[in-house]
């Protein structure tokens, strides 16, 4: 009987539509509207493996399910971390969660950042707003294997100094001699020492070898569109540029069509796309 229950449990665990209940071990308030949840994966053998850029479906029982990128370190599979902005009904309800609560988790899903392709090249990461969260696993991976990559440039833009995510880590990374990190805000008080202006205005400040650079962009679509255009103008080929697209998702496994983006499904074929795969779609209105 016990064995049958265990088998049934294992079957359910393999069913991609059945969430696994995980306990929230830590809650970090990042900014006034953004928080990070660390989930306890202690009983999973091997922890929770994922590729930088992948996402999970997080289910807050009684509220609903949302796709959230994993923002933790892929080199530490024992810690499953998501950084969430309270923007809708479900994420606002999640914001009031305390440590010790539970979430249903399905995943990891989707295509992540091209970490293998980036090996041996300069890497430029451009993030805007909450877009830094899906890129953070890529930064962890690059820093863990720093000698696999050439120059590393991180450009981050957000609204105000109070909206800056992971500020302690940004300070730490900026202090490294092998990383060029620039942060900018749209507006800031006199005490702000970083740059002021949109994230693309940081590009003239950084050096990289365009023909040998892999660029990864994550943020509001309009930021990525302008960012990609400026990177193309700097000489980075579209084939070396990758964007993380965001759409409403339901099943996360390419069945329901909720996240259809042109001929593809963002949940299965994305969220990370090579620039030349989405260029025709980026300029289509109402898609």
């Amino acid at each position: 009987m016990i064995l049958e229950t265990a088998k049934e449990g294992a079957r359910l665990m393999r069913d991609p539509m059945v969430p696994e209940c995980l306990r929230i071990s830590r809650v970090v308030r990042e900014t006034h509207d953004t928080f990070t949840l660390e989930l306890d994966v202690g009983e999973r053998s091997g922890g929770f493996s994922f590729t930088p850029g992948q996402f999970n479906m997080l289910y807050l029982f009684g509220a609903g399910e949302v796709p959230i990128s994993i923002s933790g370190d892929p080199g530490e599979p024992g810690r499953l971390i998501h950084t969430i902005r309270a923007a809708g009904t479900v994420t606002r309800a999640m914001a009031s969660i305390q440590g010790g609560g539970q979430l249903g988790v399905r995943g990891p899903y989707g295509q992540g950042w091209p970490m293998e392709e980036a090996k041996g090249h300069d890497v430029l990461l451009m993030a805007g707003g909450i877009g830094l969260a899906p890129l953070r696993p890529a930064i962890y991976h690059i820093l863990r294997h720093r000698d696999w990559f050439g120059r590393v440039v991180v450009l981050y833009g957000t609204r105000t100094p109070a909206d800056v995510l992971f500020s302690r880590e940004l300070e730490k990374w900026r202090g490294r001699l092998d990383v060029s990190l620039h942060a900018t805000v749209d507006r800031g008080g006199r005490e702000w020492r970083g740059h002021v202006g949109v994230v693309t205005s940081l590009l003239p400040l950084v050096k990289f070898e365009p023909a040998d650079t892999v660029a990864m962009l994550c943020g509001p679509e309009i930021m990525m569109r302008f960012g990609a255009r400026d990177l193309v103008a700097r000489g980075i080929p579209q084939e070396s540029m990758f964007l993380s697209m965001e759409r409403n998702m339901k099943c996360a496994i390419g069945f329901c069509g909720h996240c259809q983006y042109g001929p593809s499904f963002v949940c299965k074929d994305g969220p990370v796309y090579r620039m030349d795969q989405v260029t025709p779609l980026l300029n289509v209105r109402e898609i």
Binding site: R85, A87, G128, G129, I130, G131, G157, T158, R159, D163, T184, D186, R187, G188, G189, R190, W192, R193, H195, V196, G197, V198, T200, S201, P204, L205, G219, P220, E221, I222, M223, F226, E246
Partner: protein, 154 residues
């Protein structure tokens, strides 16, 4: 000797890249080197706009005073950038403050001197204005993106 080295600095500033030598010489006649300490104002809103700055080193915050909030930085310029075009546009008054965030070295060009030179030599004026239009267009685009407040929902 001093004029020669100033001419070299004018010639080597990115804003004047590709300018003809005779134009560089004329522009140098309107230029001088200046330095600003941290916190010192380069421009103040409402004051007469008499100069153009070509930044050589340092960082300058472009600020607007918001009632109830104090000074807000809305832009930042640094090495290689140009600051100030109100000396070109009547009534020649600054629309923003600009304050040194770091110790800043710059070339200061006298606006009245430049306008007089441009009136006499339209080709020189056109060359400089072409460069200004490119800078203004770039800053306008960045400003449009700031106005869109793209990070509000994402």
């Amino acid at each position: 000797m001093e004029t020669q080295s100033l001419e070299k600095i004018v010639r080597e500033h990115p804003f004047f890249e590709g300018m003809r030598e005779e134009h560089i010489a004329v522009l140098t006649g309107c230029a001088k080197n200046v330095r600003f300490e941290v916190g010192e104002f380069l421009l103040k809103e409402g004051e007469d706009a008499r100069v153009l700055y070509l930044l050589r080193a340092g960082k300058v915050g472009i600020e607007a005073h918001v009632p109830g909030k104090g000074a807000m930085q809305v832009g930042r310029v640094g090495e290689g950038d140009v600051l100030g075009w109100s000396w070109l546009v009547q009534p020649y008054r600054w629309h923003f403050d600009a304050r040194a965030v770091e110790v800043t070295r710059a070339l200061e060009l006298d606006g009245t001197c430049l306008r007089e030179k441009f009136e006499k030599d339209h080709e020189l004026g056109y060359e400089v204005l072409k460069r200004f239009v490119a800078v203004i267009a770039q800053r306008l685009e960045w400003t449009h993106m700031q106005v869109l407040d793209v990070y509000r929902n994402g």
